[in-house]
């Protein structure tokens, strides 16, 4: 695919689209309220109904969609670059469910209440463990089959661990909530969740973006990174940690939302000149856009029993994943 669109143009188009969809998202919700007037009320510090609904419910929700989508998109691009494998994605390889398992352990067994950092810390550790395991199992062979199999196994294990943890949780509702942790949702989230996710996700983004040049070099092979003077171990370590940090911080508040990191980098790769470093930045924007759109979509159905966000992204991403497998079949084994 040859395109004449330049990288800055891609960034501008995506940014404009994000602003437009975010505005649309602020306008979608069960209550019928004047959004502009509500924003003015918030600005003037007035306590109107609209100000409460927009300020306390809708704005944090849009922000979370943006943060989580950006992180998953960027993490997907980073993993695909790092593993040099187009099928890598934090959801497919079980990294998000590893993070969800960490979050579940902390939340349902009463540790989260003792200090704010336990929840993101546990989710980040969960993400890091599953990421490193998959990387060790599959990264050593550059075989697609090995990577996917390792990912499937990791997803199955972490998914089962979530179920076991919730089964033993001292809460009457724990077992019903398995769907949230496996499928993800932004319903009923508020500013506390933003303040947990945002700072750590930001650090994760910076860590990932700081390794742009390494990923660019890595696309030419490990020999070339070494000859260019990169310390491969250190660079990889920083990238893995950045991915785990971002994904962990997000999954801790949203549950695991799949396929964003798979779809978005693929769609954007032709527009960024196939450079993994740039792709991370563009994929963050694309991921944010996709998740805000998906979140608007889930709210269009029955408002009270809204569809889980991960269901929508899986319905989009599943077929996409199959297409990719078909396309890359010649490179298998």
């Amino acid at each position: 695919m040859q395109t004449k669109i330049s990288f800055p143009q891609v960034v501008i188009v995506l940014s404009v689209a994000i602003i437009a969809t975010a505005a649309l998202s602020l306008n979608s919700g069960a209550a019928d309220i004047p959004v502009l007037q509500s924003l003015k009320d918030i600005w003037h510090g007035e306590q109107s109904l609209g100000a409460t609904i927009v300020g306390q419910i809708r704005i944090p929700r849009v922000l979370l969609a943006l943060i989580v989508g950006a992180t998953l998109g960027m993490a997907g691009a980073a993993m695909q670059g790092l593993l040099r494998n187009p099928l890598a994605d934090p959801g497919v390889l079980g990294v998000t469910s590893g993070a969800a398992f960490g979050a579940v352990c902390i939340l349902y067994f009463g540790v989260a209440a003792t200090a704010w950092y336990w929840l993101p810390a546990a989710a980040i550790i969960g993400a890091l463990l599953s990421l490193v395991l998959v990387y060790l199992l599959a990264g050593l062979h550059s075989s697609m089959l090995a990577l996917i199999l390792a990912g499937v196994a990791m997803s199955a294990i972490t998914g089962a661990l979530i179920a076991v943890a919730l089964n033993f949780a001292p809460s009457l509702y724990a077992m019903q909530e398995i769907v949230f942790w496996l499928m993800g949702s932004l319903a009923n989230r508020h500013w506390d969740h933003v303040s947990i996710a945002l700072p750590l996700a930001l650090i994760g983004w910076l860590l990932m973006l700081s390794r742009s040049r390494f990923l660019d070099a890595l696309s030419l092979g490990e020999e070339s990174t070494r000859s260019l003077g990169f310390n491969n171990h250190r660079e990889r370590g920083i990238l893995l940690f950045g991915i785990a940090m971002g994904v962990g911080a997000c999954v801790a508040v949203s549950g695991s939302i799949g396929f964003i990191g798979l779809i978005v980098p693929h769609l954007l790769r032709p527009f960024v000149g196939y450079r993994p470093g740039r792709l991370m930045f563009a994929s963050a924007l694309g991921g944010a856009l996709l998740l805000i759109l998906a979140d608007i979509l889930v709210r269009q159905f029955d408002a009270a029993r809204e569809l889980k966000l991960g269901v929508v992204t899986s319905l989009l991403g599943g077929p996409f994943f199959l297409l990719l497998i078909l396309k890359t079949r010649s490179r298998w084994a």
Binding site: G29, A30, A31, D32, I33, Q47, L49, T52, I53, Q56, I57, L107, Y108, G110, A112, A113, A169, P170, S171, L172, Y173, A174, Q176, E177, F180, N188, H190, W191, D192, A303, A304, R305
Partner: protein
């Protein structure tokens, strides 16, 4: 917990047959609510087995007191060796176990579960009759009736306030429920019922805020255990919305008969604040 209540209360017709049998001495119960009523009605040494849920503080207010009494998990093999004179079960408890126990020649009595205020006193009296504690049962119903009546008296001649009864998972409680009856007695307009909601329904938080209730009734429960279901009740938008939040310690959702009086008293006190 609402789901349990829903299931238990959906059958109103009594299946219990009045028998002229002798008063049973050794009592086994498969039902947490019957356990709680028995705890009030009969000497505790007559209880040979109670439901394991009754010993769980998440479900039962008397969990700490029942320590030492043998627990059952609704399995026939746990009951048979204890040789109880009667086995009490709720409408929907352990169907297979009850069938088996009957076939083994045990006396099993099934009690209907209440869905209206009137049913509650009837259930207590019926249970009292079964276990030979008529007087205590009568006293219990009189106390409950008095507590409920006081709720009504306290709010007579006042302007009706609008309210939602808001429970876990963002569920509001409409008409056809005990909660609805209590709200009416307390002089509250149940906005959920006015929206045409029957029983237990989820209501979007935005819609709840838009309806601008004057009072929001929330049941505290779960002994601090985390759940997303309870997070609905902790959303900051509720704190900023300018309605009065009434928090009840006791709820009706598990065992209405045993807690009705407490709920009425608490509701009255909280509304009076």
């Amino acid at each position: 917990m609402g789901f349990l209540f829903l299931i238990l209360s959906s059958l109103t017709h009594s299946q219990t047959t009045q028998t002229a049998q002798t008063t049973p001495e050794r009592i086994a119960s498969l039902n947490i609510c019957i356990d709680q009523l028995l705890w009030e009605l009969v000497p505790h040494e007559r209880l040979v087995s109670i439901s394991y849920l009754t010993a769980n503080p998440l479900w039962s207010p008397i969990a700490a007191q029942v320590r030492g009494i043998p627990l059952n998990h609704g399995l026939a093999e746990e009951i048979v060796p204890l040789k109880p004179d009667v086995i009490l079960a709720g409408e929907f408890d352990a169907a297979a176990a009850v069938e088996l126990l009957k076939r083994l020649g045990n006396r099993v009595e099934r009690l209907p579960l209440p869905r209206q205020l009137d049913d509650i006193n009837q259930q207590i009296l019926q249970l009292g009759e079964l276990v030979g504690a008529n007087e205590k049962a009568l006293l219990m119903t009189q106390k409950t009736s008095k507590q409920v009546a006081e709720l009504q008296a306290a709010t007579n001649n006042q302007q009706l306030l609008t309210a939602f009864w808001y429970s876990s998972n963002g569920v509001v409680i409409g008409d056809g429920t005990l909660e609805h009856e209590l709200m009416q007695l307390a002089g509250l307009r149940n906005l959920a019922a006015e929206r045409g909601m029957h029983g237990f329904n989820q209501l979007d938080l935005e819609l709840l805020l838009s309806a601008k209730p004057q009072i929001l009734i929330i049941e505290d429960s779960d002994a601090g255990a985390f759940s997303l279901a309870r997070e609905y009740l902790a959303h900051p938008a509720l704190a900023n919305a300018g309605f009065k939040i009434v928090r009840l310690r006791a709820g009706l959702s598990v065992c209405a008969a045993a807690t009705l009086g407490d709920v009425a008293v608490e509701l009255k006190q909280e509304l009076a604040k």
